[in-house]
Every structure is written in C-alpha cells, then in structure tokens.
Subunit: 203 residues, 2 copies
DNA sequence: TCAAATATGTTATCGATGGTAACATTGGTT
DNA sequence: AACCAATGTTACCATCGATAACATATTTGA
C-alpha cells in the first residue's frame, strides 16, 4: 500500500517534482507512527512511501527533529480541535465543560496513542519552533479554561494543575500499559470515574 | 572518564575476561541515560566504556531490549526503595504516609528523570521479563497502599487511581517540559500543593 | 590430572539509518 | 531566451544493532 507520488493535473507533465512532498512526508510519518512509535519512524521509509529518494526530505526539513516537530504540531492542533468541539457541544447542551474536556483529552490519547506520545517526546522536538510553541500555548489555554489570559506569568491554580496532571497521567499510564490488569480491563470507564472526583461542584 | 575494565585480584591474571561485564554494561548505560535519554543510549558506547568489544554485550543480553529491561528493573527497585524509606519515616514520625509517598515519587522523577522515563518506555522493554513484572508489581503495591493484597484482580478505588494518575502525570509533564513557564518556575512546590488537595482527610 | 565442554571474549561483516556533497532537472523571473 | 532558485537525484559517510566464525579462559568430571 505504497502511496504513489501525487500526479499533476496535466497528465503528461514531468514527475520530477512532487508538488506537495512536505505534506506527503508528514502523512507518511504519521502512517508509520502507530506501528513504529515516535522514535521508530524512519525518514527513508517515509521518502520511499512518498515515491521519492531518501535525501529529498532534507529539502523540506532541516533534519529529522524538524519533521517530528511538524508532526507534533499537527497532533497538537488535532487534539485542540477535538477538545474545542467537545467543549462547545457540552456548553450548548448544558453539560459540564470540565468533564467534556477531560473526556476529550482521554479520547484523543486512547484513540491516537502514538500521536499523543509524540506531542510529549520533547527529546525529539524543537521546542523553539514557533508553530510548536503556538500549538502548545493553545492547548495550555484550553486546559486552564482560558483563565490565564490576564498575563503569561499567571500562577496556575492548584486545582487546575491537579486536574491537568490527573488526565495526563492516567492517559499516559493507560497507553503505556502502566496500570495493572485490574484497571486495564476497562480503563476508560475507570479513569473517567476517577476524574469525576475532580468535578468542580460549585464549591 | 572511561571506566577501565575491573581488574582481578591477582595482578598478573589475564584480562581477557572482564569479570563483571553485565553489571558494568548496565552502569555504562545508566551513565548515558541523563544525556542521551532512554532511546539515545548506545550499546556500542557502553561496551567501549566498559573497555570491551562491541559484540561482547550480546554474550550477556539477548538484545538491546533485554539491556533496557534490566535498566528499568534497576530503576523500579531504586524508586521502590526510595518510596518505602519515605513511607517508613513518615509513619514513625506520625506524618501522612500518603503525601510522603507522593513526595518520594515526585522526588525520584525529578532527580532521576531519565531513569523515570525508562521505566515507562514500554516500547523499549520486555514486559514479559519476570524481574520486570515483579518490580512493577512491587511499585503497584506501594502505590495502592497494599490494599490490593486480597486478590490480583481487585478493583482499584477511583480515589487511588486519581492520586496515582495525578502524581504520575505531574511528574511526567514536569520532566518533559509539558507545563508552561509559570508552573515551571518552581514546579516542585506547585505540584506538591496540587497533590495536597488529594490528602485523604479522614473523609 | 588433564581433556572436553562451556562461558566469555574478539574480529569481520551485514543492513538500516540520518545526514551531507555534488550534480540534475524543473519552473519562475526578468 | 537566459538565468537562478527550488527541488529532486545519486553517491557516499559514520553509527548503530545484530550475527557468524573464531579465540581464549574457566569449569567440570572421568
């Protein structure tokens, strides 16, 4: 199932240039991700998948780190949209936005574990990349209920930090098989039950 | 600072055999861990560090996975002892064993981040290894306050699961730079404050 | 005791990988 | 039409994990 090079509109046109190699490479890396994991992906395999030579990737990315960073940006954006959708729906349905976000976070982590891991494999990423910084900031805003809008250096409330850590930790433990079998039987519902304890009940 | 091969007692003895190569290799890998990370360690570098040829490692380990598994076992045991010590001290001092364990978990993660990460990089580990299974079970028992002793398939209380996830997630986020600067300024105290919210206050 | 068996080293080599240099082709600009 | 930047190619390198064939030490047991 090798995705052949994207053809130009003009059928007889030369195929020397790919046309959208950058995106094709990112697609190919994402396709490897579930099976190979964030550290196991190969640029050469991605290039071959895109129907292009091994060295071509370096015309679009400085190095492998730049590729992984772009993949992480994609993942961050995908997760943010997933969470924003869930939050909007919950709001208009009069349900808890808090637990909707938590459920969406967990949903994404469990359904796209490799993308989720990639987002946090900082050793593979260029954390100075502006797109990545922006994507991370968007996630942070989402997780903190846009509370920190006043200033960048606002203190994170302990309760928010706790909730953030809990969803993240349970998601991570779940997808890395860090929980014993008893919890793994149906960890999604068990985790949601645990997170429900954090529901901000008007206080 | 290359650690030369361990000498035998008899000075004139042949140096063809190392004597404790297995342990020396694990030491060398651990030494690489902080800088290279769990996925960045090299068996060849470890062998060179131990003063031995590249292929020698495979006389003591089936493959790289077996090496990383042994490192993870060491890390699990180290962390378990750290937590047990903290728990014992808290108990005899009349302090909260719960928060002592949480603090010890966080301590270990923050002071030995690479070892901590290795423990949860399941893609690198052989999870069928008996030593690893045992070490993980010991950690699980510690985290669940030995509550699950009745049976292996006991349900984990939601509160325990929440606390477990929270410490783990906050530790992970902290060492992977997943928290914004505001929380990173002094994340240890901020995290401990967050965890304090979970203190089981007799209820 | 000493010879065979076993354990533990070594060297040579393989295939895959990320990365670079030198060159080729294309398409846009003027 | 001619140039030039963008984007592709081939050839090559060092490093890595892994294996095979061989060398040496240690242990075992007749």
């Amino acid at each position: 199932m090798v995705t052949s090079r994207q053809e130009k509109q003009t059928p007889g046109a030369s195929e020397y240039h790919h046309g959208r190699l950058r995106e094709a490479l990112l697609d190919a890396v994402e396709a490897q991700l579930p099976e190979k994991g964030p550290e196991g992906v190969s640029l050469r395999a991605a290039a071959k998948h895109a129907g292009v030579s091994s060295a071509a990737a370096f015309r679009h990315f400085k190095d492998k780190r730049a590729v992984m960073t772009a993949v992480a940006v994609r993942a961050h954006r995908g997760m943010a949209e997933h969470m924003e959708t869930a939050a909007t729906e919950a709001r208009s349905a009069g349900l808890s936005v808090f637990s909707a976000k938590g459920r969406a976070y967990l949903d994404f982590a469990l359904s796209e574990p490799a993308k989720f891991k990639t987002m946090f494999r900082t050793a593979l990423l260029d954390e100075t990349d502006v797109d990545l910084v922006e994507a991370e900031a968007r996630m942070t805003r989402l997780l903190l209920n846009d509370a920190g809008e006043d200033e960048k250096h606002a203190e994170i409330p302990a309760k928010s930090l706790l909730a953030w850590g809990a969803v993240h930790g349970l998601a991570m433990l779940s997808i890395e098989d860090g929980l014993p079998n008893s919890a793994t039987k149906d960890n999604r519902s068990a985790i949601l039950e645990a997170l429900a304890l954090l529901e901000p009940q008007d206080e």
